[in-house]
């Protein structure tokens, strides 16, 4: 079982971060003007958070282009929160699943197009790849100390975890009694769920994490057995719960907690199960993009998203309900703190990233693609 180590932000951690920042120009990163500015210029307070961005300049830029894996209302919700706080900065966005979005930004950059300021992905593997390609702007936010080192890029400054999306099993209470409902991850392999179970498509970052984590726990045969269930696969968590609420599927093998909260509020007859081995979880990765057309707005957005204010927005917006990894984050709308869940992350992120092709092939094959 893979868990995350509970490390506090210590003086040593901060020194490590500082060391990494200083070393950055010597390990292949482009000499970041922004970084230099971050070191020399003291942060300023705007609203109730700290920023190294020049707010007046950001407002003069007047625009922020955001690429996001989140569904349409979720993406609209994120930029709406920022725009409310900074009404002089207009926002626009493109949303697509992480795979498609990453492909899009790579194609654009290979053709010399730099149209995006900030990108949010639901999978650490492409984020690390993007970092290696020099895709992120090196910007160390003054809000960084509120995050544990494992929730920041290494070296710090490329991206951070703006939230976590945990998933367990969910079922329709009208179709499945609590005694029949699956209790463990292995229970989703019960033949009674054949043809009435759902999952996500291979473009989903969370689905990749689930495949990796449960494969590590239960061996490669787990997903081969799962393939016999003829699962229905969908793009987003809302589609999964939409079908679950209507009884099109009786259970979902990847019931995301934020969608569960949303549908409970809508009055859907659904229930959430947290298997004892833990909830699979994917980080939601935000970073400012290098050569951004609106660099100050991009930095301001990163600071806003990292701040208590931004995190509260992410955590309480009905179309997001992300669990915050900020060390001082309040509980989620259900009253539960993210730290109260046992979360399953890949223990070795490099090995995880290397398994992407294996996953895509197996998952696509299972879905008939």
């Amino acid at each position: 079982m893979a868990g995350i180590k509970n490390r506090n932000v210590t003086r040593r951690t901060l020194l490590k971060i500082g060391g990494a920042i200083s070393a950055a120009p010597f390990v292949g990163f482009p000499a970041p003007g922004v970084l230099a500015q971050g070191q020399t210029k003291s942060p300023t307070k705007v609203l109730d958070f700290m920023t190294n961005a020049d707010v007046a300049k950001a407002e003069q830029e007047g625009q922020l282009v955001f690429y996001c894996h989140e569904n349409e209302p979720g993406t609209a919700g994120i930029v709406e929160g920022f725009h409310k706080d900074f009404p002089k900065i207009n926002t626009s966005y493109v949303r697509a699943q992480t795979g498609a979005l990453y492909n899009k930004i790579l194609s654009e950059r290979s053709a010399g197009r730099f149209d995006v300021d900030v990108i949010q992905l639901s999978d650490l593997a492409p984020a690390v790849d993007f970092q290696k390609k020099g895709g992120y702007e090196q910007y160390v936010s003054p809000e960084s100390p509120a995050y544990k080192a494992e929730h920041l890029s290494s070296p710090v400054g490329s991206f951070f975890w703006t939230g976590v999306d945990p998933a367990g099993i969910a079922y329709n209470k009208a179709k499945v009694t609590p005694s029949e409902a699956p209790k463990t991850w292995q229970d989703i392999l019960n033949p009674r769920w054949k043809g009435v179970i759902s999952c996500k498509i291979s473009a989903s970052g969370l689905q990749f994490v689930q495949w990796y984590a449960l494969r590590k726990l239960y061996g490669p045969g787990f997903w081969k057995e799962f393939a016999k269930q003829n699962p229905h696969a969908f793009d987003s968590r809302v589609q999964l719960f939409d079908r679950l609420a209507k009884g099109d599927d009786k259970i979902t093998a990847i019931g995301e907690y934020p969608a569960y909260i949303l549908f409970k509020e809508k009055g859907a007859n659904v229930e959430f199960v947290a298997p004892p081995d833990g909830l699979v979880a994917t980080p939601l990765i935000v970073g400012a993009v290098s050569k951004a057309p609106h660099p100050e707005a991009a930095k301001l957005f990163v600071d806003w998203a990292m701040s208590k204010r931004g995190q509260a927005w992410y955590q309480t917006n009905p179309n997001l309900y992300y669990g915050s990894v900020r060390t001082d984050a309040p509980p989620m709308p259900t009253g539960v703190r993210l730290s109260e869940f046992k979360l399953l992350y890949p223990a070795d992120w490099d090995d995880y990233a290397n398994q992407r092709d294996v996953f895509s092939k197996e998952w696509n094959g299972m879905l008939g693609l």
Binding site: V65, F66, Y67, E70, N71, E72, P73, G74, A76, E80, S92, Y93, V94, R95, A96, Q97, T98, G99, A100, Y102, N103, L106, S107, E108, S110, A111, R113, D115, V116, D123, P126, I201, S202, A203, N230, H232, A233, F234, D235, S236, V238, Q239, D242, R243, A245, K246, G247, D248, K266, G267, A268, R356, D357, S360, N364, L367, G368, L369
Partner: protein
């Protein structure tokens, strides 16, 4: 410089030639430039991350045999949908063109409505109606004591049914045109010598319209092969992939399987090209013995009391293709979770509030209308000139231009969009991600539609009118302005409206080419279907339909007023 040299240069640089070659060059660049990139990707067997390709080969095509089920599904759905669309189209065309069914004119107008509503709207509505568990029809069925489900729309035949309902109107238009040009004396002669109505229809009417029906069959089959929206909405829940939806899925994942997708696209294009080549051969063969020098007036047959049964058939078609889908979407849009028997607490207007707060409605709808206006206006000028160049000018290579212009008809729009994405992302002028790219895309993919519509009218105008003006010493530009264009006005107005509607409802090309500042409505509805609830998606589809309907009413009123102006 001698006088003869000046004359020769004047001939060479005449306005006619400059306009002709200029327009031809623009059209050729629009069409062939993206196709080059598409072919490049299909034959690229090197590192997919490296462009331009490092190695070429046929591996991507041989790899397609790993997807036999997808190829089989595509064939099954296309064949089934074509057969159904032809049955709908033939029956409706026969009823409305050849019988005295009540309300013929009204139903003829209503037959065009499914085309305006779009297959996407139909798919969303039928998904709510016919899903095995939550479909309204199946819920009612179980409430009445039935077991399991009555219909399952998430199957190949379900997909074919919805595609046929909405392509049925295209088949209707094509078959009705043939039926209307048929001399009724042939049928009358059959009945005079004692044949029953059914026997007359089977032995006289049917054989006479066979070439037209065959042409329609091939055209509709080619359309079905490239169909995307219905298979996406109804096929995905049951893992039922056709080539277009498989292509979409392959390029959406990480790492994207672009080379495989491109090879699939090129293969589909090859099949569609053969189909459309056959269609053109059948149409050009002109074996219609129904159009003769003998004057006749199309006359309808008195079918007696049977006309009320036929009226029922018409009402049923309009009900399942228009009224039922719209009513279903409206019903779903005012519920929190769409069910057949909602409780009092389930009713809500929140979906409309959310929809109005989303980019999809705020800016996408405006962009769509703007693009529709731009595509129609620029398209009519460009396509009018192209139609003139191909069918009226004596410029060399006009025959080749016809093939170039009709090329996009053979390429599924989703596939064409790949080529466009790669082509325009490397283009030195920064139009990628802007509305300009969508404008170019729309003009390109709708070239066949616009040119064919305008050519249809242009070919009816006697050349001698232009020649007469020429004899009187009018220049080419003056002749076009004072003779050709005024005579073409009805055709140009029809083409304008067609292009406007086609642009506003466009999905296949737009879904890959939208940028953060160039969102358009139909792909936004699909995105909403992917990422939000079916109730919100139903709301968006309704809003789109309403706005387009209002725009159409205004535009038709304006064009009627313009059309009523006397021509000098």
């Amino acid at each position: 410089m001698t006088v003869s040299t000046v004359e020769s240069a004047r001939t060479w640089f005449s306005a006619q030639k400059i306009a002709g070659y200029g327009v031809a060059a623009v059209a050729a660049v629009f069409v062939l430039y993206p196709v080059y990139f598409l072919l490049q990707a299909a034959f690229d067997v090197g590192d997919p991350q490296v462009r331009p390709p490092t190695a070429y080969g046929l591996d991507n095509f041989s790899g397609l045999f790993q997807f036999p089920q997808i190829l089989l599904n595509t064939l099954n759905v296309s064949l089934a949908a074509t057969v159904m669309a032809l049955v709908f189209g033939f029956v409706m065309a026969w009823i409305l063109a050849r019988t005295n069914v009540p309300g013929r004119r009204l139903f003829e107008q209503l037959m065009a409505v499914p085309y305006y509503l779009t297959p996407l709207l139909g798919a969303l509505a039928w998904s709510l109606l016919g899903s095995p568990e939550s479909g309204f029809i199946n819920q009612i069925w179980r409430a009445l004591g039935g077991h399991d489900h009555l219909i399952d729309i998430n199957t190949g035949y379900g997909i074919a049914w919805v595609m046929a309902l909405f392509e049925g109107s295209v088949a209707f238009v094509m078959i009705a045109a043939v039926m209307k040009s048929m001399d009724p004396s042939l049928e009358e002669a059959s009945q005079v010598i004692g044949a029953s109505r059914l026997r007359t229809m089977l032995r006289i009417t049917l054989p006479l319209v066979v070439p037209g029906v065959l042409g329609a069959a091939i055209f509709v089959f080619a359309e079905m092969l490239g169909s995307f929206a219905v298979a996406l909405v109804l096929g995905l829940p049951n893992r039922y992939y056709v080539v277009t939806t498989a292509i979409y899925q392959l390029v959406q994942q990480y790492p994207p399987k672009i080379q495989t997708a491109a090879a699939m696209g090129v293969s589909l294009f090859a099949v569609m090209f053969v189909m459309l080549f056959l269609y053109r051969r059948i149409v050009m063969a002109g074996s219609y013995v129904t159009i003769t020098g003998k004057a006749f007036r199309p006359r309808v047959a008195d079918v007696g009391p049977l006309r009320y049964v036929l009226l029922g058939v018409c009402v049923f078609y309009v009900f399942v293709a228009v009224a039922l889908p719209l009513a279903t979407l409206l019903y779903a849009s005012v519920q929190k979770i769409a069910v057949a028997f909602p409780t009092a607490g389930n009713w809500t207007l929140d979906n409309f509030r959310t929809a109005m707060s989303m980019n999809a409605v705020r800016s996408a709808l405006g962009n769509s209308l703007l693009l529709g206006f731009g595509t129609a206006t620029i398209g009519v000028v460009l396509m009018g000139l192209l139609a003139w160049l191909i069918y009226r000018s004596r410029l060399p290579a006009s025959g080749v231009m016809e093939y170039v212009v009709m090329f996009p008809q053979a390429v599924p729009r989703l596939v064409f969009a790949f080529g466009m994405m790669w082509a325009w992302v490397v283009f030195p002028i920064p139009i990628y991600g802007t509305l300009w790219l969508l404008l170019i895309a729309y003009i390109t993919v709708f070239l066949p539609l616009g040119v064919r519509t305008i050519a249809g009218v242009m070919l009816q105008i006697d050349k001698s009118l232009e020649e007469c003006a020429q004899m009187c010493g009018a220049s080419w530009a003056f002749r076009v302005r004072t003779v050709t264009v005024p005579l073409l006005v009805p055709g140009l107005v029809a083409a304008w409206l067609l292009l406007f509607i086609a642009s506003v409802r466009e999905l296949g090309a737009s879904i890959l080419l939208m940028g953060p500042h160039s969102k358009v409505i139909t792909p936004s509805i699909v995105e909403s279907w992917f990422g939000t609830s079916s109730e919100l998606t139903a709301t968006l589809a309704l809003i789109q339909t309403l706005v387009v309907a209002i725009a159409m009413i205004v535009l038709v009123a304006v064009t009627r007023r313009v059309g009523a102006q006397p021509v000098d």
